[in-house]
């Protein structure tokens, strides 16, 4: 960014970024948290955080990367908060992968999503970034602040776990 952009320009750019990215960010957060209300909260907070940090961003073009990382961090905070029963929010909808959630058609899809929910947090994050957002290993590494080697090994282990859960017969053969 060459020089400081005006406040009005900043606001306009962030508003425009919301229009462009809100849906995909909420969908990503939904995959990581399981319910829409929390996903929307996480994304709203991520955009608010972006507004605060906007003047300090070295390259506004990287705002999407910043948002993605903020959403992932926000989802982690949600999980942490739930563990300590600290999140003072209205009751959440059942997770999108649960049997009670009728939004997903197909038993196989629910089975896959339920298996994903049983993975470790980082494994869920890496798989969502890889197979939902189609990010490269490098982009995933940047988003999660881990090495590309860790990305590759995490994906490999996560897929192995899923394969055992989803295809037990094949694993036993």
């Amino acid at each position: 960014m060459a020089g400081r952009i005006s406040r009005a320009e900043t606001a306009d750019e962030v508003d425009e970024l919301y229009r462009q990215q809100a849906v995909s960010m909420i969908r990503l957060a939904l995959l990581l948290t399981g319910d829409r209300a929390t996903a929307e909260d996480v994304v709203q907070d991520a955009f608010l955080g972006l507004c605060r940090r906007w003047p300090g961003l070295t390259d506004p073009a990287k705002a999407v990367s910043y948002l993605r990382t903020s959403v992932i961090n926000g989802c982690r905070d949600v999980h942490r908060a739930r563990r300590v029963a600290w999140l003072r929010r209205p009751p959440h909808d059942p997770p999108v992968w649960s049997a009670e959630a009728a939004a997903i058609d197909g038993e196989d899809r629910r089975e896959v999503l339920a298996a994903l929910a049983g993975l470790a947090q980082r494994q869920r994050e890496v798989l969502a970034l890889r197979f939902y957002l189609d990010l490269s290993y490098g982009e995933i590494a940047a988003a999660l602040c881990i090495s590309q080697g860790t990305v590759a090994s995490t994906i490999s282990r996560a897929l192995a776990i899923l394969a055992r859960q989803l295809n037990p017969q094949e694993e036993n053969q």
């Binding site: 709203q44 507004c51 196989d108 999503l113 602040c145």
Partner: protein, 388 residues
């Protein structure tokens, strides 16, 4: 590509498609508004009792007595009330400069410019009459927080800035002097997203002490301090509970701002908080979507003590009062601060997201009088932090 990866992609897509783009909500607050919180108007009306002048604009009384939280009383006009006696100058931080206005006439008296390449982020009382503090950040892409001290002459002319502290890699969010001392409190937020995200510090002859924000995207919107410096009032944001009014015990051994603080859940979340020098009273604003209210609260119990002023508000969005979204969508912004003695309170109010229509009011809490200060700086964005 294999079968498992295909199944993953299909499941992800199905889950994601449950979010219909047409049903995605608008931002709970305009990002335009939110930006302004970190680039707020800072208005400072220095108090110098000996140099105080009488303001002869509209004078009203404060609604007296204790008002139940859900049964507040509107301020009543008392024509016979004496004219409010307010400080002679009002300072407004508009980012590129701090402007000094004549409180009575609204005329510009002086302009204080930041060092080259910097932009003002906050201005506040320095803890003694005629002494002030300013926080600046770099106006370019790099991050660096600077905290300065300056003085204002009897004619309202500012002295050059004297550097007190700089914090590389951070942006300042607030600064406040400790009344009657050479100490001051400050807050910063790191520009990197990884924690720790900055923190609150207090600095003085005894040294420097900090409390960090270890998690989330914590942020202190305003700071206020008691006369003994033992308590800081923070309008604080922490991920999870969201906005909170908090009292930070500066004697606490906790290394974190949240750990050293006590939340006041019954006091409405507010853009800024003011605290009386004795630490017994908080001043905060709230809105239920139809009425904006400035009131005082007990720090011991959180109970509302007195309604000082109310304004009609047109709600600009959903969200229940008392929640993050309710706070953010209320179409009402109010910034308050007290003077060194706790007698005077300054409030800047913006209604219905009319970003360039701020109403600035000074209150004399002892006589119960108030006066509108004819200073209406043009702001491209909503949001201000008020300091006295």
């Amino acid at each position: 590509m294999n079968d498992l990866e295909d199944r993953l992609r299909d499941a992800y897509r199905a889950a994601a498609d449950t979010i219909d783009p047409a049903t995605v909500p608008s931002p709970r607050v305009s990002m335009r508004r939110r930006v302004s919180f970190s680039q707020r108007l800072r208005i400072l009306t220095p108090l110098a009792a000996a140099a105080a002048v009488a303001v002869v604009v509209t004078t009203t009384t404060l609604a007296g007595g204790t008002a139940p939280r859900h049964h507040v009383r509107t301020a009543r006009v008392r024509p016979a009330a004496p004219a409010a006696v307010l400080p002679p100058f009002t300072l407004a931080d508009v980012g590129s400069s701090v402007k000094v206005y004549d409180t009575r006439t609204g005329a510009g008296v002086a302009t204080l410019t930041p060092p080259a390449g910097q932009q003002f982020e906050d201005v506040a009382s320095g803890g003694s009459p005629g002494t002030y503090l300013a926080a600046t950040g770099l106006s370019g892409s790099a991050c660096h927080a600077y905290f300065y001290q300056f003085h204002l002459s009897a004619a309202g002319q500012p002295s050059p800035l004297t550097l007190l502290r700089s914090v590389p890699g951070s942006q300042p969010t607030a600064v406040i002097g400790i009344p009657g001392s050479r100490s001051y409190a400050y807050s910063t937020v790191h520009c990197q997203t990884a924690p720790p995200n900055g923190g609150v510090g207090i600095s003085g002859p005894a040294g420097n002490r900090t409390w960090t924000y270890p998690t989330g995207d914590d942020y202190t919107f305003s700071l206020a301090a008691t006369a003994d410096g033992r308590t800081l009032a923070l309008s604080f944001y922490v991920y999870g509970p969201g906005f909170q009014d908090m009292l930070l015990n500066t004697q606490s051994s906790s290394p974190t701002a949240a750990g050293a603080s006590r939340a006041l859940p019954s006091v409405p979340v507010s853009d800024t908080l003011a605290i009386s020098p004795d630490g017994r009273t908080l001043y905060a604003c709230t809105s239920d979507g139809t009425t904006g209210t400035l009131a005082s609260y007990s720090t011991a119990t959180g109970a509302q003590l007195r309604v000082l002023r109310q304004w009609p508000v047109t709600a600009s969005g959903g969200g229940a009062p008392g929640t993050d979204s309710g706070y953010m969508s209320r179409g009402f912004s109010c910034q308050v601060s007290t003077d060194l003695t706790g007698r005077y309170l300054l409030a800047a109010v913006s209604l219905d997201n009319k970003l360039d229509h701020w109403t600035i009011t000074g209150f004399d809490l002892q006589t119960g009088t108030s006066a509108t200060i004819p200073v209406r700086p043009h702001l491209p964005l909503l949001g201000s932090q008020l300091a006295w």
